[in-house]
């Protein structure tokens, strides 16, 4: 097929179809509406089903229904709309139902604005809805990575029977870059023997529910969930590093802002500063051990986010006080510029490295 030039939102849609997702329930909201529009156009072409729900709440519950029937299914929204889906995501997690939910985040809190933001980090990585649950979260930083991670999200969802979040922001959703649609190994063969597709008269009805009025049974269900999360923590951590081989100062950043950091790092490297980037790709499970493994060599860590400081808490937990940590963030939908980050990195570098 070769390379094509597409918007990030559309890339998510095409990658989902490549992963065998033929069901999409959505509701438009800027800056993710192109994904809904793309699915509306493309899914009928592959004999799939697109349905625009009357709200985000109904879309996520339609996902619950489709997933119960054993198909690969996706929904998407942006921050305020994503908040509306939280009850449904908690139900999916409790009922062990696989699904992929996309959040192309925008400035908050409240209705906020439509510019890019990373201020939904707490919500996506710490559960989001009610009850003891986590969802795996994948955060691409290029459109090519969206192709891989969207497929990967479906693989993880099916393998562990869990909702998975794909987290982007307005910039990734709106920008265009050349991408190549290469199929990843996402089609692991899973017999969804639990799917409620009818008993065909064998007298063994299946039930999918998140309700358990018996306290002992509900605790058992919780224990099983926690066992599953342990397994995901062991197997599904993804992280990328850039120029960390000899780094004395590390920048920790993910998604959109990691790209800006990389450009800024290149510039201060030219001045001789030994600086590198640790880029978490899975935000839950978090690459705690990878960050910890660099502690001995590092004089300083600077965490950069498009938020008031959310991921920085996970970095602190990883480092356990062994390295001084600074934070730099912009809020309100503002993306920090390369110049601004160069200045920040120089300032911290001067204080610590010389």
């Amino acid at each position: 097929m070769g390379k094509v030039l597409m918007k990030g939102n559309e890339v998510i849609g095409e990658a989902a179809i490549l992963a065998g997702c033929h069901y999409f329930f959505g509701y438009p909201i800027t800056p993710q509406s192109e994904l809904v529009a793309y699915m509306a156009k493309r899914l009928p072409e592959v004999k799939g089903l697109f349905l625009q729900a009357e709200s985000e709440v109904s879309a996520i519950n339609m996902v619950y229904g489709a997933s119960s029937a054993g198909v690969r299914v996706m929904t998407s929204s942006s921050s305020p709309g994503f908040s509306l889906k939280q009850e449904g995501i908690s139900y999916l997690a409790a009922a062990n139902l696989p699904a992929v939910i996309v959040n192309i985040a925008r400035g908050g809190p409240g209705l906020g604005n439509i510019q890019p933001s990373q201020s939904d980090y707490f919500q996506v990585t710490k559960g989001g809805g009610h009850g003891d649950y986590y969802t795996p979260v994948l955060a691409p930083s290029t459109l090519q990575e969206i192709v891989d991670l969207t497929q990967e999200a479906f693989r993880i969802a099916d393998q562990y029977r869990t909702p998975v979040i794909l987290l982007g922001d307005g910039m990734l959703g709106q920008m265009m870059e050349p991408v190549e649609f290469l199929k990843t190994d996402n089609q692991i063969v899973i017999d969804k023997e639990w799917a409620t597709t009818g008993t065909k008269g064998d007298g063994s009805p299946k039930t999918i529910t998140s309700l358990d009025l018996n306290d002992v049974k509900l605790e058992e269900r919780n224990c099983k969930l926690q066992e599953k999360y342990k397994l995901i923590r062991r197997n599904e951590i993804k992280v990328d590093t850039y120029l960390m081989e000899d780094a004395e100062m590390a920048i920790v950043a993910y998604g959109t802002v990691a790209r800006i950091c990389q450009s800024a790092i290149d510039r201060v490297r030219d001045e001789g500063m030994k600086i590198g980037l640790i880029r978490p790709i899975s935000l839950w499970p978090y690459p705690t051990d990878v960050i910890a493994s660099y502690c001995e060599r590092l004089n300083k860590i600077v965490v950069v986010e498009m938020s008031a400081g959310q991921m920085v808490e996970d970095v602190r937990l990883s480092v356990e006080g062994k390295v001084p940590i600074s934070f730099y963030g912009r809020t309100g939908g503002i993306i920090p510029t390369v110049e601004e980050l160069v200045e920040q990195f120089q300032m911290h570098g001067n204080g610590v490295l010389r």
Binding site: L5, S263, T337
Partner: protein, 178 residues
């Protein structure tokens, strides 16, 4: 080699499409590219801009603080972006629409009567192509062939009859900066 381009003008002038043509042509020429629109709450007749990076190496930030070239299609855009161009960079304007004096003497300014030229060619809508022609001739970042290939792709089957006038516009633009 790396060009960081901002194209700005009124909504409806073809700002986004011009950027898309450059990004597509860059991709076809085997370069790394990115295309990022300003997508704030815009209104018809308001200003719009797009940032395009064309580079031999991977594109880090798709956001451009200091463009190497700006293509400006109205006065408000000129006021906003004139000061952002790197020293030694290029400002290309549609001289039929931009009439503010340039305060910079450390950049190359090309004021091209693009609408006049396009009208002479019989279609005022190809004014953007005139300026893109000047851009590729001045910077050498893209070949005329890859831009034509991008045009074939963007126009699609139904609008192939518009190819000759677009190519003529491209060539007129290239001659303007010789």
């Amino acid at each position: 080699m790396k060009e960081e381009i901002i194209i700005a003008g009124f909504g409806g002038q073809g700002v986004m499409s011009m950027g898309q043509l450059l990004a597509f042509a860059g991709m076809k020429q085997g370069k790394e590219v990115s295309w990022l629109p300003s997508y704030g709450p815009e209104q018809r007749g308001g200003t719009a801009n797009v940032s395009v990076v064309i580079s031999d190496s991977k594109v880090g930030s798709p956001i451009i603080d200091s463009p190497t070239t700006v293509i400006l299609l109205n006065n408000p855009s000129f006021e906003k972006f004139e000061k952002k161009v790197v020293p030694g960079g290029n400002i290309l304007t549609n001289g039929d629409l931009v009439n503010l004096p340039c305060k910079r003497n450390d950049i190359s300014l090309f004021s091209i009567q693009a609408t006049t030229i396009a009208e002479k060619l019989g279609n005022h809508r190809v004014a953007g192509m005139v300026i893109l022609g000047a851009f590729i001739e001045k910077t050498g970042i893209l070949s005329k062939e890859s831009l034509v290939e991008a045009l074939l792709h963007v126009l699609g089957k139904e609008k192939q009859h518009l190819i000759p006038v677009n190519i003529a516009a491209l060539e007129s633009g290239m001659e303007m900066v010789l």
